[in-house]
């Protein structure tokens, strides 16, 4: 944490806070870095403590003879490391996150599925999205992909209608791809959301999560921090599982290298679910409802597969 704070002091956006609420998300490296430190500390401690994690380690023969079970106690060691990491991570994901600038309340982000061909242009100037029943929202975020216009460029201006009623008198205009426009309104529910092209010739493609509703009711960032601490366990579980598999044949140095590399790639390298979830937390996105937990499943499956392979590849020792 001290390292993270000193790095943050070295590179802190000074005018970001003036620029708007979203600037806090720029502090995500200073959240991920201490989580990485906590994860690697727990994981390395587990590998060094339990001799069966590496081949030919001191005391491994005794453990093989005494500790029965498919993983020779490695499963329990991994569980202990994960528990220790939760204890270390919770202050980081709750208190440090608030100190970095995470908003006090987190709101669910609900992406709306569009029509089969979600293209809004002069030939198809209206598009309808079904809103989940009962969802109360107070903001719509639009981020379409813009195609090249036919002829000289004229900015595309849209009207946003909720059940046929105009949501705002604000200008909703797009000229280029990935441009974000947030339309705020009073908290409300509706059945359908319509986007109508009022003027302009820039074709807009609303695929995937191009239309997102922000739920009006908020959840405490403390609970969001707890969710992040749980997500932060996934890279550690994957790294320890694969390190455990390597340990069937490899010595301690190799196992530690594999462990550190996997953790680095999944956290700092952003190959895992942690970095996206950390950004979501700082943006005030409720992690319980977004894509962050589903994004963990492939990694959990990889870790589980590594554990199964470890179980299969360990031979029973002579007693």
């Amino acid at each position: 944490m001290l390292l993270a704070w000193s790095l943050q002091a070295l590179s802190r956006p000074q005018l970001g806070a003036l620029a708007g609420d979203g600037a806090a998300a720029a502090g995500s490296p200073w959240l991920v870095l201490p989580l990485f430190v906590a994860a690697i500390a727990c994981a390395v401690a587990a590998v060094r403590f339990w001799p069966v994690f590496a081949a030919r380690a001191d005391g491994a023969d005794w453990v093989h003879r005494l500790q029965r079970g498919p993983w020779r106690g490695c499963g329990a060691a991994i569980a202990a490391a994960l528990l220790a990491q939760v204890v270390l991570s919770l202050p980081i994901t709750t208190l440090l996150a608030r100190a970095i600038g995470a908003p006090g309340l987190a709101h669910a982000h609900v992406a709306l599925a569009g029509p089969d061909v979600p293209l809004l242009d002069e030939r198809g100037p209206r598009m309808r999205f079904d809103v989940p029943p009962g969802l109360t929202f107070d903001e719509v975020q639009l981020r379409p992909i813009a195609s090249l216009p036919a002829g000289p460029l004229r900015t595309s201006r849209l009207r946003v209608l909720a059940d046929g009623e105009s949501m705002t008198d604000a200008e909703v205009a797009f000229e280029q791809s990935q441009q974000l426009v947030r339309v705020r309104c009073a908290a409300r529910t509706c059945h359908h959301l319509d986007l109508v092209l009022a003027e302009g010739n820039v074709p807009l493609y609303f695929a995937g999560d191009s239309v997102v509703l922000i739920a009006a009711g908020g959840h405490s960032t403390i609970w969001n921090g707890v969710a992040l601490a749980v997500i932060a366990l996934v890279p550690t579980f994957v790294a320890l599982s694969i390190a455990c598999l390597c340990g069937v044949a490899a010595a301690l140095a190799t196992v530690l290298t594999v462990l550190a590399s996997l953790l680095f790639v999944q956290t700092i390298g952003e190959a895992g679910p942690l970095a996206g979830a950390a950004r979501g937390l700082l943006r005030g996105e409720w992690l319980g409802a977004g894509p962050h937990f589903p994004a963990c499943f492939p990694f959990l499956a990889a870790g589980a597969l590594a554990m199964i392979l470890t179980m299969v590849s360990r031979r029973n020792p002579r007693r």
Partner: protein, 258 residues
């Protein structure tokens, strides 16, 4: 043991003497620390900035740009591009027609304050940075005409103030005209960053300001070249770009005119 003690005491005295004769400077310590942090942090910071452009909002993208420029404080072109993008972004929050001008003013003030901070590190390129600052209010007014009413004296007053500061550093009448000829470079940088809208605003403003060039023939020729580029970027592919391609002042723009 005594010898070791004497050596340790001597070393401590040398350190204390060095500290007394040349007191440690926080800025130097910060720069030395930045040497180590920069190669580690920059690739991730750059990737995060690009991700913020695609997934985050304007404020996050600007804050991430500040992190990059904190690591590369002498990169004046970076200051210019990120400040222009922020000031001309339009803001991610949709606002009513009546509120647009005040929102544009807020963004312009923040962008200019950031560019002002960049002057401390600009070195020999401080004049260019001041010319960049001088042009930004005019581009912002091109985008949001009612912003001029909120600027005391209009955008021209701000432009004159920054150009006057540039003339103090580099006393030459060329300073006032030179900044008009810098704009293709600025537009090219914005196009390279994927911001076609801001690049077109820069070109629109440069065309309107080209009337200030005292050599009338040069002004007309310059305006024609800029107009050709603008029309091409707006989708008019019937424009003949032969003269633009032959003009060395437009070289930065050529990769974006294919």
């Amino acid at each position: 043991m005594n010898t070791r003690l004497v050596r340790a005491a001597g070393a401590a005295a040398c350190f204390a003497g060095a500290g007394f004769l040349l007191p440690p400077d926080a800025a130097v310590a910060r720069e030395v620390a930045a040497w180590f942090v920069r190669p580690v942090a920059l690739p991730f910071a750059w990737k995060d900035q690009q991700a913020a452009q695609k997934r985050g909002d304007t404020a996050e993208a600007f804050a991430r740009a500040q992190q990059i420029l904190d690591l590369l404080p002498a990169w004046t072109d970076g200051y210019a591009v990120f400040a222009y993008r922020f000031a001309l972004d339009g803001g991610s929050l949709a606002v009513s027609y009546a509120e647009r001008a005040s929102a544009a003013l807020q963004r312009l003030r923040i962008a200019l304050a950031w560019l002002e901070a960049g002057r401390n590190h600009a070195g020999r390129r401080e004049v260019e940075l001041l010319q960049t600052m001088a042009f930004l209010p005019e581009v912002a007014v091109t985008q949001e005409p009612r912003l001029a009413e909120l600027l005391p004296g209009g955008a021209v007053a701000l432009t004159d103030a920054y150009l006057a500061q540039a003339e103090v550093i580099h006393p030459s009448p060329a300073v006032r005209e030179q900044y008009i000829f810098l704009q293709p470079e600025r537009a090219a940088a914005l196009l390279a960053a994927g911001d076609r809208r801001a690049a077109l605003l820069v070109l629109d403003t440069a065309i309107s300001r080209s009337a200030e060039v005292r050599d009338r023939e040069l002004a007309t020729e310059w305006r024609t070249r800029l107009d050709e580029v603008r029309r091409w970027l707006r989708g008019d592919t019937s424009v003949d770009l032969t003269a633009v391609r032959a003009d060395p002042r437009m070289h930065d723009l050529l990769p974006h005119l294919r």
